[in-house]
Symmetry: C2
Subunit: 284 residues, 2 copies
Amino acid sequence: MTHSLKPIEQHASFGGRQSVWQHHSTVTDTPMTFAVYQPPQAEKQKCPVLYYLSGLTCNHANVMEKGFVQAYAAQHGIIVVMPDSSPRPEDMADFAKEDQDWQIGTGAGFYLDAVRQPWARHWQMESYITKELPEIINTNFPVEPSRVGIFGHSMGGHGALTLALKNPGMYRSCSAFAPISSPMAADWTQKAFAAYLGEDKKDWRAYDACALIEDGAKFAEFLVDQGSADPFLEKGTMPGLLKEACNKAGIDLTLRMQQGYDHSYYFISSFMEDHLAWHAKRLD
Amino acid sequence: MTHSLKPIEQHASFGGRQSVWQHHSTVTDTPMTFAVYQPPQAEKQKCPVLYYLSGLTCNHANVMEKGFVQAYAAQHGIIVVMPDSSPRPEDMADFAKEDQDWQIGTGAGFYLDAVRQPWARHWQMESYITKELPEIINTNFPVEPSRVGIFGHSMGGHGALTLALKNPGMYRSCSAFAPISSPMAADWTQKAFAAYLGEDKKDWRAYDACALIEDGAKFAEFLVDQGSADPFLEKGTMPGLLKEACNKAGIDLTLRMQQGYDHSYYFISSFMEDHLAWHAKRLD
């Protein structure tokens, strides 16, 4: 074990185990916290693994507590990994001013590798999620490293879509709840993207699902649920842009508009069963 | 409508509606907050109603967010009412010192009517739960007032058991997650009971499930789940006392020791499906 994992909490849950761990991340150079749900099947055999990326302001605990994910992960025998949504440096002196804004800093990692200082020093979430964390998970938990899916909510839906598009072969399945379809177009991503990546929007294309698809990135199929009463629908998530990009590129997108649902975990939990079933079928 | 209900939040959830309301309670003489889950069936017909009483330190939100109750309430077409666990007076001057203790004051109503001052002025949770709140629910939500169940966790499990025993005919079904079986014996009830009811333990018997059963109170059957890894098992919940009292009185108690489970909502959510099914069968 190359990474020393510190246990934070552990609970029996739906016949399996819900645990939280902390470790020092070499890519973010901060402590990082993640949660893991191990279904009952994981006591006896290796299981497929599904990464859930959270939205703005969230950490590992939101989906762990409010997502209802354990019930369905236990049904399908899937291990679910729930990382934090950003590094949380112990010394925030360089970030304190911007961090007052919920759309930048802690809780706003956007699952990208920042190239501008001071952010680049710690905000390396793409490398964390695609390289360091899977190594830790594969070493310390009974997962089958070839059966990996990814999903997420809002900023984490953007993360799931972009990481799946950018890493062919890494993920067998990908879905999202109300993802930010195009950070270049959305109104709540401008400040963080400029701070992390610079003002030149050409450099943002590598972290924009629609731009990635336009530029030729492929993925077999996406499931996306979107609430019709989501207050961020028109200027934040903008599913029409994703639909258009997928249509043009021939990517199979199942986009479901869910009548009356908002952007909260009441929306997410209501469709968690469908998403776990979607992934289970593709990770089988 | 005799009570003016102020809407606090509302979300689509599992095809139904999760809402939170505030009103002025005449029995506690404070604002009171409660949550209601209305399943999809409630759009077209009246539904049975199930009251969930929360544990120490909790309010209406704990089970609403972490209990997974909506999934199963939607399945069975049951309206679930989730009240706060105590009054929260706007002027806490008279209570500030004791309220530092998590076992007394706000978050610690114990579902009883206090008779000692200063508590008696507001801490009237028995009357609130059995009289005022049902009136509000029956007037404002599509419930069938003859099909009512009650359940709860820990302090709220104690509340469910005692209110069911004390009010023949009011509840058709009753269950509990890790209830305090006997507040007279438990170590975490002593301070609040003395403050609310006085030092004479004879006066506590009306709020102790085991003492009520010894004194002749009846209820058809209880379902109780208890985690074997609950840190409060030996001095707090003490299910052996309830088992003994039910055995002696011929009350049908289904007591399930759940291996490895603790006292948290990970435990509660894991068995929520069973409890909703239990109530659904008896409220049918």
